[in-house]
Structures are given as structure tokens and as C-alpha cells.
Amino acid sequence: MNDVIGLAPWLVGFPLIGAAILLLGGKATDRWGHWLGVLASAASAVIGFILMFRMIGTPAEERSIDHHLWTWLSAGGLDVDLGLRLDPLSLTFVMLVTFVGTLIHVYSVAYMDHDPHRRRFFGYLNLFVAAMLTLVLADSYLLLFVGWEGVGLASYLLIGFWDTGRPSARENAVAAKKAFVMNRIGDMGLIAAMALLFAGTGALDFGTTLSDDAVGSLSEATATAIGLCLLLAACGKSAQFPLQAWLGDAMAGPTPVSALIHAATMVTAGVYLMVRSGPILEAAPTAQLVVVIVGAVTLLFGAVVGTAKDDIKKALAASTMSQIGYMMLAAGLGPAGYAFAIFHLLTHGFFKAGLFLGAGSVMHAMGDQTDMRRFGGLSRFLPITWITMGLGWLAILGIPPFSGFWSKDGIIEAAFMPVEGQPWRAWVFGSVAVLGAAITAFYMTRLFFMTFGGRRPRWTENQHPHESSPLMWWPLVFLGVGSAALGAVLGIGGTFVTWLEPVVGHAEHHEPVLPVPVIITTTLVVVVLGALLAFRMYAVALVPEEAPRGSVLTRAARRDLYQDTANETLVLKPAHGVARLVQVGDRDVVDRGWSVLPQAVSWFGAVFRKAQSGYVRSYAAGMAGGVLVIAVVVWLVVGLGGAQ
């Protein structure tokens, strides 16, 4: 392992250099820039593979390596090295990011073919890959934060990629800003967590802070505070309730971006953070509970929103939110859940990326139309897309043996694990997980059949759907295969769980409150029921081209359960009020307050000036008066005093 560890920095280095060349190189790189981007990402992927295989070849207990690069920050008692931590967890992410990332790079070459700013797009993509790899490879919270905000920046740039020159340009820019700002709200949590950690343990690197000694030295209150702060950060990044509002708008970015950043990788960083910080969360059961609750709430929230969305990307975004809810739920369950959280993260990365890219392919074919009510009957025209998306659809539904089944089922089982002293938890969260699976089945089936099924197309005029270029469908094929097989490959025999054990620890096996076969069966039954319902409504029945008014719940779900309204009323308006108050206060109180001084001087000046009347006699009177006053005062004070 040590002979290849020197390659690790190049995981980040290649895409970073790629980004630098593409962004600074200017028009000179326009012609070949996209291929450079692909190459940089692919190079990372190759290094990732090498490291991965070497890691597999090392004994389990040696699978955590901290690779020190240089002393980053050493001042005032805080010593943080700039170093990389290579362990099964980070390498899993590396593989996901570089492999899926490279596929998406390739896809984008074709997808962005007509965009005059393709080079810039690849620059941003490379920047994202570099930042995401920094995030997962960091060996300290501080460096993690660099990647954390780096991906935020890349996300910002990519969501707002079309921020000029289109009718929707301003909205895209606003969406980008919204994403970044909401992420920043989460980041406050990370900053606060770091402050607490430094105060509590005197360090910020994983090696120290997550060690048993350090965690043991934290009081439960501190650990809870840290855990909640980390959760806030994770909520921001992973679009978990209550910071979920940005993700839907983030679909304003080009579809490969949605696939890579807002489905497969970046949004799952919150889960990574939770799993990485496992030892701290385990010391804070309350925080863990909150994590689970957040996961459960988001799971349902996203699922409900997903049922009503007609925009294919927004529906997928809601689905992403919901799936991450699953992961978050799992991450809150302790060691039993960690592995499945990451497992689901991995499989989700594949199938959701595939679904998004498929959606991109559909949009490409339909002239950038995203409204599913304007699709229908596309399976004939886009066979490869249809099949690969179908694999993704089965995967997300959790139909055995597709990959989603292996990971999601693990989470559902874990959710049914009893918790000592709190018997209600297993039932509540288990049921939520099952319910979520049913709704997922409904909305994904709806999405699938509204797009590909249906008895007649609902296209607008002049649509000539066609399969996309090989550059686009080959990645789909790869992802489709992954969606189909990855779960089985890693899931059978617990390979993946074992692989992660060095990081997340071995989970004591408890029996769920229900027998496992019962859980599996129940889940499958409700999933099939949900899918059938959707099939009946959207494949068998005619889908109207204009959305019917719908029930109260539908309308609410279409508007994301009024999340923007809530934010508007609860946060933005009061905040704006405060800002106005400050502004008016600054102008009318502070600034005016200071200007009172010169005004007062001028006023007194004008008054005293009148004494300078120009009349000699009044001047003389002033003098005489002055003499008299002084004399009287002196006489009163001194004269009387002298008489004694």
C-alpha cells in the first residue's frame, strides 16, 4: 500500500489541475478542453482503482492510512495537517465519485455539445470532482470543510451555469444563490461543531477527535451539541428537512450536474459526515435520535413531493431527497445502520445517476422539455434510455435482485431494530421506512410510465424524439448495469458491510422487532401495490396534458408542501424586517446621531455670533461685565474666605 500511497494526492490533483487549465486557459482551450476534463476525471478514477485494489489487498486492520502532505495550519494551539485519510469509507466514495463522475463527464461531452461554454462547464465539473474528493479524503474536519464548501461552490457555479443569455437566466442564478446560502446555513453548524470540538478536544483532525479518548472526554451535552451542529451541516448539504428547499430549484442546472452533484455525490456528503462522525454521535443518543427523525421526516417529505411533480427532474430531485432521508435515518441508527447508509448511498449513486442521465437523454430528445405530461410513449424511440432507466426504476423500487433491494432492505431492517428503553422507535421508524418504500414505488412508477409508457404521446408539435449519441448512452449502459448488479455483487454475503467494518465498527447483531422475512415480504408487497396503483393511473389511464387541480395534498405536494412559503414567512420576511430596521436605524439614529454634533456646534456658533454685534459699547459692556462677574465670584469665594 505504501508504494502507491504517493498517488493519493493526484486523486485531487488531476481534476484540480484540469479545472485550473480549463478556467484560466480561456478560449485557447475551447477545442479540446472537454476531453481534458474527461481525462482528468478518468485519471483520478484510475488512481482510485489502483488504490482500491491495493487496499483490498491489505489486512483489514491496516486499512486506515493517514497520508500527511504538509502542515497546513499551526498556530495558537491548533495544529492541522493537510493530509488525506484513505480507508474503506473514503475509498468507497472515491470510487463512486470518480467512476460515476467520469461517466458523467463523458456523457456531458455530448450533452453540452451545442453549448458555447462547454469548456467552462468541464472546468466546473473538474473543480467539483476535486472538491468532492477533498471532502471525502480529508483527514480533518477543517480540510473536510474545504471540500464541503468547495463542492458547494461548484454546485453554485453549475446550477447557475446558464445565468445569462436565457430567459430563465435570472431564475437560474437565484436558484444557485439559494443553494449556496442554504448550504451556508448548514455550514454554520460545521463551524460551530469545529469550535466545540476544538474547545473539547483541542484538535480537529479525525485521528484525534474521533479517538475513544477524545470522545470519552466530551461530556454528553457537548457531544450532543456537536452532533446536532454536524446534523445541521448535513441537513444543508444533503437537503434534509428543514434545509431541503434548495434542491428542487437546483435542477435549474444542466442535467449532468443534477446527476452528478444533486443525486449521486454531493448531496450525500451529509450522510458521509454523519457516518464519519459516528463515534461522536454514538456518544450522544439524543443527537442520534434527532438524526433519525430528520431522516424519517425528509424521507416522507421527499416522497410525498415526488408524487405530485410533473417536471421529471424535480420529481427525481424529490426522490433524491427522500432516498437520502433513508440514508440519514440509517446513519442515525448507529453502527448497525452506517454500513447500510453508505451502501444505499453507493447504489443510489448509480441508479439515481442513471435515472438523471436518462432523464437528460429524454430531455435531449424532446428539445429540453421537462414536463412529463408532454412525454409518453417514448420507449419505442429511446430504447436504450428506456431499458437503462428501467433498470434504475427497478433498483430504486427495491425489487430483488436489483441493487436497491440490497441496500434499502438493509436500512428498513435496521430501522426495525429495537432500541433499549425506547420500544416505540423501532415500530415508528420501521413503519415510516416501509411507507416510504411504498410511496417511492408509486412516484417512480408514475415517472417511468408517464415518460415511456402510455397509449399515446402527448408531445408538443415538431417533436422528433431520437436516441442520443453513443457518448451519451454508453454511460447509461454502465450505470444501468451498476443499478442492476452492484447491490448483488456487494450485498450478498455482506461483502460491503465487512469492507466498511474497519471504519464504522462491527455492529452487534440484534433481531428486528419483526422477523426478517416478514419485513422483506411486507416491503415488497407494499412496493408492488404502490407500483400497480401508479401503473393503473398513469399507464393504463390517460394522462391529461394539463395537470388536474388535484386534491389538497397534491396541490401542497406540487408546491413542495409549501416549503418556500414557510421559509418566506418564517425566515425571510422577519429577516428582511430586521434588516430594514437596522438600515433605518443606521441612517436615522447612528448616522444622524453623529451629525447632531456638528449641527449643534453650528447652532451655538450662530447664537454666540449674535453677541458679536459690531457695537463698541456692547463690547465694552462685555468686558466690564466680565470684570464684575469675576470680581463678584472672587469676592464671594476669596473675599469672604479672607475675612475669617
Binding site: 474545504v146 443569455g165 437565484v174 454554520m188 469545529m194 453623529w594 456638528p598
Partner: protein, 527 residues
């Protein structure tokens, strides 16, 4: 040993004299004199040679003893008043000297065409800039309270003329006066404290002819009441300079009316005197009073952080907005200093440097933008959709903006996190709470930077702006060092932290409760 600091101080003075005095001889109606057009190149040359001198100073500086004041020179200046020409820098001072030395050539370059072809204005402008530079360098080197005070006030004069004489806003004269009145008001309050120090120093037995040496005064116990009063005197002056809410009112006006170059020098360098003074004068001279005042100071600092950020969000004028962001950042710096942790103090010291680079970049790039507008409008609403028109300008602006919002990977992040993390463990009561209260500042920063970017650079290009030229080579040369500096210091902050770490430890040691003394007392009582 070569007197590096004196050379650094004197060299711009020579340049200022050369260029500035020749400007006085020119009147617009007068005949064209020799050397027309040479003012800018000569000034630039001087400022670049100054950079060379700075390199020499850095080489001569021993980083192993960064807490000590090195390159020191002490000569009697006015023994009757007790003041000496005493210069010397510790790591923090050296970094700030570096900031003042590095920014000047960039500002000169940025303002290359700003004053048009008016030779008189040009010469005066560059002369004043060099003069200001000499004072700024000197003030960061001063190791004598009186000398510090003299420079503290004297540098207001070139700054005043730079604001009032060369600004682009209609209110520049008012702004200049406001700036000077606030600064002088604070300065004169400080003068009262300086006068007091004179007597207290003599009373404490310091040689009358050198009573103002900081090192001597720092060793004196002034007595609680006197110390507190004097702390207040010094602190008000520094707070006005810093600028801290509620004595910040001059800053937005200046930022909105001065030229971007002036604002850069003024807000990014000159104002650092405030925080520098807090760090190197208030803490060592008045440790007890600093502890006493810390809770209030911290509260005001955090209020500044939020207040400045909120006001920045509400601005409609681009340059005023940048000014307000500085109020916010100075809040962070002060927070770090007055929570008395090595980490926070080191972070504040580092932030003084970073803020200069980041906000300087933002001011200058904003200036480039404004200079392109047909009407030189500073109204944010007058711009739109410029990313497609001037992509490089947009990118540079965004990078500068990201530095302002302390994006990790850039130097500003390192310092900000150091301040926040350090402040959380601060010793004054309530530090942790105030530190947490300051954290939303990072969200507000994101809002003001990205909102501005969104309004100016995204959407459809505004009418009349469709054909603006992108950044010219000269302008790129200005922006590049700042951006590179921010990146390099972000990735290898150790380059700068080696200079600030030891001084930070030392100043925190000064303000911590004197444990050795307590020990001595205990052993004394044991005996």
C-alpha cells in the same frame, strides 16, 4: 546592520517628495514642464523598489523570534517630550508592513488611467499615495507611543486629500471631512491618554527622555483606574479607525465616494492601524483594562459583524457595499483579539493581512467595473448580465467575493475559522456565546456577495452595457497577485502563520491573569 525599516519608511517619502512637489509647481494654466507623463512610472518604480526592500526586511527577519520586535532602531527624537524614533516589527507588524508595501504598486497600477491625462492631478495623486505609504509603513513599525500617535494622525492628511480630491462620488468632500473628523476626534481623545501616559511613565521612574517607548511603558503598572481610563482613550481612537459599530459612520461614505484605489489603501491597510493598535498597544500597555473591557468589546465586535453584513445586504451602491463588508470583517478581527486565545489572536492577525488582500481585490475589481460604465455608475441596479459580456471580470469579481465570504481554500477562511474557533474558547465571560452569535455572519456574507454577483453579472445584459470591454492586461496584472496570494495563503497559511503565532501567544500571555505573580504571592505567604 542595514536599517531596513527606516529604508522602508524613507524610500516612499523620497518618491513622494520627488513626484508630489513637482506637482505643486505645475498649475494647469502654467507651461508644460519637463517630465510630463513620468509621474506614474516613477511612482510605480518607487513602489516596486520598495517591494524589493521589503524582501530584504523579510530575509533579515528571524522568524524563530517572531514575537520579538526585530530590525529595531532607536534614536532620540524629541527628548524633551520623551519620545524617540523607535522602530521595530514583530511578525504581525512585518506582515502589515508587507501589506502596505504590496498593495501600493497594485493601487497605482489600478489607478493608471483613473485621473485621465491631467498631469497635475496625476502627480498629486501618486505623490499622496507614496506619502500615505510612508506613514502607513512607519505606523506599523513604531515602537514609541508618541511616534505612533504622530503617524496615526499624520497619515490622515494624505488620506483626507486622497478621498476629497480624487474621489468619484459627488459627496467626496463631505466624506473626506467626515473621515477626518471621526479620525481626529478619536485621535485627540487618544492624545489625552498619551499625555497621561507621559506623566504616569515619568512617575513610574522611566527615564524622562524615553518615556514613550512601548517596551518601557509595558513594564509599568499604571494602577487600575488610570489604566482603564487610558485604555478607553486609546480604544475609542482605534475603534473609530477599525471601524466598529457605532463609530463606523464615516466608512460607508468614504467607500462610496473615494476612488477604489484610495478605499483599498484606506480600508485595507490604514484602518488596520486600529486593530493593530488594539493588539500591540492596548493589550500590552493596559492588560488589566483590556480584560475589564473585553466583554463589552466582544459584544460590540459581534454586533459589528452582523450589523455590517446586514447593511451590506441592504446597499444599492456597490462600493458602499464593499465598505460595509469591512465593518463586518473588522468585527471578526476585534472579536479574535479580545477573546484572548492564541488561536483567535493569531487568526485576527492573519485576518488583518487577508482582509487587506481580499477586500482590496474586491474594491479594485469593483472599481474596474465601475470605470467601464458609461456614466461611472456605482448603482448595482444599473448593471446586469455582465458575465456574458465580461467573463474574466465576472470571474475575478467572483473570486474576490468568495474570498470576502471566506471560502475554504482561500486565506480568508483560515483566519476566519481561527477567529471563530478561537473565540469560542475565549477567556472573557460570554465569549463562547458571542462567538456563536457571530457565526451567522458567514451566512450573511454569502448573501451579500452572491446577491451582488447575481444582480450585476447574471440575467440579460443591461441596455448600453452589451459591449463593455473585458479586463485589460493591466487590470489582470493588478488582480492576479491578490488572487494568487489568497490562494497560496489559503493552502499554505503557515507562510504567514509563522509570523503571527508567537506574537499571538505572547499577547495572550500578557492578558492572562498573572499566574506567576499569584504563585509568588502564595510562596510569599507560605514563608
Amino acid at each position: 546592520m542595514f536599517p531596513w525599516l527606516t529604508a522602508l519608511i524613507a524610500w516612499p517619502l523620497v518618491g513622494a517628495a520627488l513626484v508630489g512637489l513637482s506637482a505643486l509647481g505645475l498649475s494647469r494654466t502654467g507651461p508644460a514642464s519637463a517630465g510630463v507623463g513620468l509621474a506614474r512610472p516613477i511612482a510605480l518604480l518607487f513602489s516596486l523598489v520598495e517591494v524589493g526592500l521589503l524582501v530584504g526586511a523579510f530575509i533579515a527577519f528571524d522568524t524563530g523570534a517572531a514575537a520579538e520586535h526585530q530590525l529595531a532602531e532607536t534614536y532620540r527624537w524629541i527628548p524633551q517630550i520623551g519620545t524617540s524614533y523607535a522602530v521595530g516589527v514583530d511578525g504581525v507588524g512585518l506582515l502589515l508592513v508587507a501589506l502596505s508595501v504590496v498593495l501600493v504598486p497594485l493601487v497605482l497600477l489600478a489607478a493608471w488611467t483613473e485621473q485621465g491625462r491631467d498631469e497635475v492631478r496625476l502627480r498629486r495623486f501618486v505623490g499622496l499615495v507614496l506619502l500615505l505609504q510612508a506613514f502607513m509603513v512607519a505606523v506599523f513599525c513604531a515602537r514609541d507611543v508618541f511616534l505612533f500617535y504622530v503617524l496615526f494622525e499624520a497619515m490622515l492628511i494624505p488620506a483626507y486629500f486622497l478621498i476629497g480630491g480624487f474621489g468619484q462620488g459627488a459627496g467626496r468632500r463631505k466624506a473626506a471631512v467626515k473621515f477626518l473628523m471621526f479620525s481626529l476626534g478619536g485621535g485627540l481623545i487618544m492624545l489625552a491618554a498619551v499625555v497621561s501616559l507621559y506623566f504616569l511613565g515619568i512617575a513610574a521612574g522611566i527615564d524622562r527622555s524615553q518615556v514613550f517607548l512601548v517596551d518601557e511603558l509595558a513594564a509599568v503598572d499604571l494602577g487600575t483606574t488610570a489604566e482603564r481610563l487610558m485604555f478607553v482613550g486609546f480604544f475609542i481612537a482605534f475603534a473609530i479607525k477599525a471601524p466598529m459599530v457605532p463609530v463606523h459612520s464615516w466608512l460607508p461614505d468614504v467607500a462610496g465616494n473615494a476612488t477604489p484605489g484610495t478605499s483599498t489603501l484606506l480600508i485595507c491597510v490604514l484602518d488596520k492601524v486600529g486593530t493593530f493598535g488594539m493588539l500591540t498597544l492596548c493589550l500590552p500597555l493596559f492588560p488589566e483594562a483590556s480584560r475589564w473591557a473585553a466583554p463589552l468589546v466582544i459584544a460590540l465586535a459581534v454586533i459589528s459583524v452582523l450589523y455590517g453584513a446586514i447593511m451590506a445586504i441592504m446597499q444599492t451602491d456597490l462600493l458602499r457595499l464593499v465598505g460595509w463588508t469591512s465593518v463586518s470583517h473588522f468585527g471578526f478581527i476585534i472579536l479574535g483579539i479580545f477573546t484572548f486565545t492564541p488561536l483567535g489572536t493569531a487568526g485576527s492577525s492573519f485576518m488583518m493581512l487577508n482582509h487587506g488582500l481580499a477586500t482590496g481585490a474586491l474594491f479594485l475589481v469593483a472599481g474596474f467595473l465601475v470605470s467601464r460604465h458609461p456614466e461611472k455608475s456605482q448603482k448595482i441596479a444599473d448593471y446586469s448580465g455582465l458575465r456574458s459580456v465580461t467573463p474574466v471580470l465576472a470571474g475575478t469579481f467572483l473570486v474576490a467575493g468568495l474570498a470576502t465570504l471566506s471560502l475554504p481554500g482561500l486565506a480568508t477562511f483560515v483566519s476566519e475559522i481561527m477567529v471563530l474557533v478561537g473565540a469560542f474558547g475565549g477567556s472573557p465571560a460570554g465569549s463562547a456565546g458571542w462567538a456563536v452569535a457571530a457565526v451567522p455572519g458567514v451566512v450573511l456574507a454569502a448573501v451579500y456577495v452572491l446577491l451582488t454577483y447575481q444582480k450585476i453579472f447574471t440575467g440579460a445584459p443591461a441596455a448600453g452595457l452589451e459591449a463593455l470591454p473585458d479586463l485589460r492586461l493591466r487590470e489582470r496584472v493588478v488582480a492576479a497577485p491578490l488572487v494568487v496570494g489568497l490562494l497560496v495563503l489559503g493552502l499554505v497559511p503557515g507562510l504567514a502563520l509563522t509570523y503571527v503565532d508567537a506574537p499571538a501567544e505572547q499577547s495572550v500571555a500578557l492578558t492572562s491573569v498573572d499566574e506567576p505573580a499569584d504563585d509568588a504571592a502564595q510562596t510569599g505567604s507560605d514563608n
